[in-house]
């Protein structure tokens, strides 16, 4: 037991002047063998931003997809082919309106 305490004190003395800085930490980590899932990776932010932006655009786009495809709703009801029947004939309303604007 005493031998062990002595060994510890000697070791403390030996590393007393050694500073375990970031570089050394990285060096140790690089030589360590952590599990694959725990491995830390560094991704430049520029590589993240592009797909993130794409994702946002696509997400927003999916919610507004109908605007890309065009909405059919009400197309049928708003079509301009109403007729106007007068004694002088039956006419397309849009014809009457089209010409009216030129008055």
């Amino acid at each position: 037991m005493k031998d062990r305490d002595d060994l510890h004190q000697q070791l403390e003395k030996a590393v007393h002047n050694i500073h375990f800085d970031e570089h050394m930490k990285q060096h140790v980590l690089n030589h360590a063998k952590p599990s694959f899932w725990e491995r830390e990776i560094q991704i430049p932010i520029s590589i993240i931003v592009v797909p993130a932006l794409l994702m946002v655009i696509v997400s927003v786009g999916l919610f507004h997809a109908h605007t890309w495809f065009g909405t059919d709703s009400k197309k049928g009801l708003n079509n301009p082919n109403k007729m106007v029947t007068l004694h002088s004939g039956t006419f397309y309303e849009q014809e009457l309106e089209k010409r009216r604007t030129s008055w």
Partner: protein
């Protein structure tokens, strides 16, 4: 700059992203459906469970649900347009709806909506299109469904009626032609001559009427029709009649007999070609000249004028007043003095443009401004007549998209201030302006008319205010004098009114004769009244014919009433009276309620008539209709 993260964090993020993408893509069709992009769902996501809904919605969107009577133009072989329910469905949309429903039928034959909805809509769309083969195929499926069996049987009968069944009598046959070319898929129906009043397209589908369809050669047949006189009606989708006019048949009615087969062809001919004025040409100067292309065999032509009324809110056409001009023109042009046409007025018309506001000015400016006036907008048509006075051509038909249209305006430069205000429905200012224009007879006449007609819906006019203006006119026209006489009657000076009526009656003015007849009738001078009505009947049968029939009926003289009905010289009144008499003869004229109703009409007791009509509606609706028709003409 870098971001540090563990592989497992990145993996979780990627998994989440993939899941979100999958969810988004899977839900995309549903989103599209909710947003109304039905076509996109059908086209780009054919695997999606939303496709059946998309097909139905897309079909309904292209053509809102139609029923048998929808979207067809109904008209009678005598040239009368009957009714037209049109929601503006294009041929393209119709084709689209057919495609969607056909796809639904093909891809989802077991969906309950096939039987509930798709088959019926698809059948009606194919029928409207005139595709007899497909219509028949679909009807054969529909006939097996209890819910639609009866309607399908009737329509199946319609498309198959070109072939006879054993033992059936072919009553009427003929063909439908467009400029001489046979047309298949046209629906025809018969309307009994004894039917009183107007015609609604629903009638033929709600009653026991028979409808048939022309075959691929344009031929049609009616089998086993009860003997009688019928008008032949046709129902066609609008686009197929564009550029055409239905030529009135030389025999107005087809007479069905139990042992004979009648031939009755229906002909559509191209519209008469108009030259000018067209496409809102502005007329300058004091005369207007109408020009058209000649019609082969035409002996003379007659022009009709229509003045337009537009909504004050959105400027759309909401009403019109038409006056056929009496002049017969031998050549291909007609010339009229605009100022002279301004002195002719068409009668009071309260405007639809006023909406529901009872206090808003509702008097249609066309009522006071005359047949043509500066600043106004108009439409016109011309009819061509043959040697026997029969109509052989007309410009009053169905116009194409992008074709020139017979509309024109009159330059507003010569417009008076009063007229300008009247056109804007500002009658308060119009009256002030017209007062300033006195003694100009045009302004005086308009003031009298405004006071006679009243400005709002509630305002029924004030003859006391109108009379001084009529009296102010130096050279009143016959119409002016009639209006003045009416005002004398309303203000308690009947002797002055009678004097005017007598003077005008001597000049052959039919409206004065009628007024005199009414006056005699009111005073209990029945013989004199009948004599006056008979005199008028020869040249202006409506409404005197009805009045005479009423008087004969009250006297219990059915034979004489029938004689009047048969001898009325003008078609419209004759038909009305004829139908009336046929109904009367079918019924017991001694019906107490009916006789009380007749008496109420004669004495002007409207509550008595209402009571009789209400009672008869339950017991005998036909007699109730007769009373209503009589009241309309005799009031």
């Amino acid at each position: 700059m870098v971001i540090r993260l563990k592989v497992k964090t990145l993996a979780i993020l990627i998994v989440l992203l993939v899941m979100a993408s999958v969810i988004a893509v899977v839900n995309l069709p549903s989103n599209l459906l909710r947003s109304g992009a039905y076509d996109a769902v059908i086209r780009y996501f054919p695997w999606s469970s939303e496709v059946p809904d998309a097909l139905i919605l897309a079909g309904q969107n292209a053509v809102p649900n139609i029923d048998e009577s929808d979207e067809l133009l109904y008209m009678m072989s005598d040239g009368d347009r009957a009714s037209f329910s049109n929601s503006g469905i294009t041929v393209e949309n119709q084709e689209k709806a057919i495609q969607y429903y056909e796809q639904f039928l093909r891809d989802y034959p077991d969906d309950p909506r096939v039987n509930d909805f798709v088959l019926w809509q698809l059948t009606l769309l194919h029928r409207k299109k005139g595709d007899i083969t497909r219509t028949e195929e679909l009807l054969n499926q529909l006939v097996k469904l209890p819910a639609k069996s009866a309607e399908a049987q009737r329509l199946l009968y319609e498309v198959k009626r070109i072939q006879s069944e054993p033992g059936e009598h072919l009553a009427v046959k003929g063909s439908v032609r467009f400029n001489g070319e046979p047309r298949s898929g046209v629906v025809l129906f018969l309307k009994s001559r004894s039917t009183i009043g107007g015609f609604s397209s629903n009638e033929i589908y709600q009653s026991d009427s028979i409808t048939v369809m022309t075959d691929k050669d344009g031929n049609y047949s009616f089998y086993d029709v009860p003997p009688g006189e019928y008008l032949v009606g046709v129902a066609v989708p609008y686009p197929s009649v564009e550029g055409y006019f239905l030529l009135p048949h030389k025999e107005k009615f087809v007479v069905v007999e139990s042992s004979k087969t009648k031939d009755y062809d229906v002909d559509f001919i191209p519209l008469m070609e108009l030259v000018s004025p067209m496409d809102n040409e502005m007329i300058q100067g004091s005369t207007i000249q109408f020009e058209w292309k000649p019609v082969k065999g035409a002996q003379y032509y007659q022009v009709s004028l229509t003045s337009l009324e537009r909504s004050r809110e959105d400027g759309r056409i909401v009403g019109s007043l038409t006056r056929p001009l009496t002049e017969k023109w031998m050549g291909t042009s007609a010339s009229y003095n605009i100022e002279a046409l301004q002195t002719q007025y068409t009668g009071s018309s309260k405007s639809h443009a006023a909406g529901d506001d009872k206090n808003k000015a509702a008097l249609d400016p066309n009522s006071i401004l005359g047949l043509l006036y500066p600043g106004g907008e108009f439409s016109w048509s011309v009819d061509a007549y043959g040697t026997k006075g029969e109509k052989i051509g007309s410009s009053s038909g169905y116009y194409r998209l992008d074709s020139a249209i017979p509309f024109f305006t009159i330059n507003a430069a010569g417009e008076s201030e009063g007229d300008r205000y009247a056109r804007q429905y500002d009658y308060e200012k119009a009256i002030q302006a017209y007062e300033q224009e006195i003694p100009d007879p045009k302004a005086v006449r308009k003031l009298a008319l405004i006071y006679d007609y009243g400005i709002t819906w509630e305002d029924h006019g004030n003859p006391h205010k109108a009379l001084p203006y009529w009296e102010m006119l130096q050279n009143p026209t016959a119409m002016d004098q009639l209006m003045m006489a009416d005002d004398y009657q309303k203000t308690g000076e009947p002797e002055k009114a009678i004097a005017i009526y007598e003077k005008l009656a001597e000049q052959g003015e039919s409206r004065a004769e009628e007024k005199l007849g009414d006056d005699y009738r009111t005073r209990g001078m029945r013989n004199e009244a009948m004599q006056m009505y008979k005199r008028m009947l020869q040249h202006a049968p409506e409404p005197t014919g009805e009045k005479l029939v009423l008087m004969h009926l009250l006297d219990g003289d059915i034979d004489e009433a029938r004689k009047v009905a048969e001898e009325a010289p003008i078609d419209y009144a004759k038909e009305n009276l004829h139908a009336l008499m046929m109904k009367v003869e079918e019924k017991d004229v001694s019906n107490t309620q009916f006789m009380q109703g007749l008496e109420g009409i004669e004495l002007g007791k409207s509550s008595q008539v209402d009571q009789a009509v209400a009672a008869l509606k339950q017991d005998d609706p036909n007699l109730a209709t007769i009373l209503k028709v009589l009241r309309y003409y005799v009031k």
